[in-house]
Symmetry: C2
Subunit: 180 residues, 2 copies
Amino acid sequence: MLKYALLGFLNYSTYSGYDLKQLMDVSTSNFWHAKQSQIYTTLKKLEKDGIVISHIEPQESRPNRRVYEITESGKEDLRNWISQPMTTIESRKETLLLKLFFSSQLDPQSVLTELRLQQNLHQAELTRFQGVTKDVIQQFSSSEDMQKEAQFWEATRRFGELYAEMYIRWLDETIENLES
Amino acid sequence: MLKYALLGFLNYSTYSGYDLKQLMDVSTSNFWHAKQSQIYTTLKKLEKDGIVISHIEPQESRPNRRVYEITESGKEDLRNWISQPMTTIESRKETLLLKLFFSSQLDPQSVLTELRLQQNLHQAELTRFQGVTKDVIQQFSSSEDMQKEAQFWEATRRFGELYAEMYIRWLDETIENLES
DNA sequence: GCTTTATATATAATCTTTTATATATAAAGG
DNA sequence: CCTTTATATATAAAAGATTATATATAAAGC
């Protein structure tokens, strides 16, 4: 699926692996992330499959950049994927819930400590969503032909915000129940 | 991490791979799931590592069961994992958001169709959480020494409920924004 | 002057997860 | 009578993702 994240960006412009990592970190990290190594190996695989092509862009005093470009075949693949509707709910993995589920044998105080720690982390995350990420969207969508994009990007930002709020609410409730 | 899901169950009783798959499907699937093949191969690996041991339980007219038991080393490993607090937020992967993020080139109507489909799926999921899963908890926690467990299990059920509500709310908002 | 951060790519090894297939039989539904 | 569902385990192959390491240099901070 990382494939489509990369193609999605390359559909706007040409980028290097390094660029794509930066882009994902500031825009999609909330719902899709990847390590540097995976990005590089996936780009290589996509080129082998004829979905992107690359060329070296020489630089003085910096390592050369390998810049990737989406091919027609890649554009079709991307369009096809986006237009194919998802007919199921995606399943989650929540390590904190897994730990909590088996926490009955543990000291009740350390469970509460962990939940309060997560509360702080999610609170910080929420604050971040209400501020910084909004700036990124405005920055990207300053041009007129980006108005449509901005709407979708705002939707994904909003999801992060609602998710953090929900998580904090759940932690509040859970802590309260365990304290009594 | 599947390792700890399996150990968590085996800490209560001995189970076969088949049992563990059933258990996960009715209890943890909301926040942790695994395919049959992964469960079997993981159990094999855990036995090689001395974390569980197994023995064959013969059955007439049914395939023999391989029943697993947690070892002392396994119990220690589990306790250790549970008591180790998580100091970061877990990152998510939401394919629907990824698609939405790159949907600007797509026909607006098909985006709305997909979102409405997800709305129905999450609505059904929410109804399921408010009913069926509650029964499972009551069934499991009927005995007195399960009161503590029930509290943690209810917390994970509640998470599923809040998550579905949040998701539906986000879909509502997003659809409304796209329609106008 | 020294350390850290940023720019840039690449690969090996490992771990995790999914998809697919094989085998065997009883009970239940239609 | 036939098909599906449930019981049960096992493994191969592939895909997806993480951890770790290597290399190289400029700019910025201290």
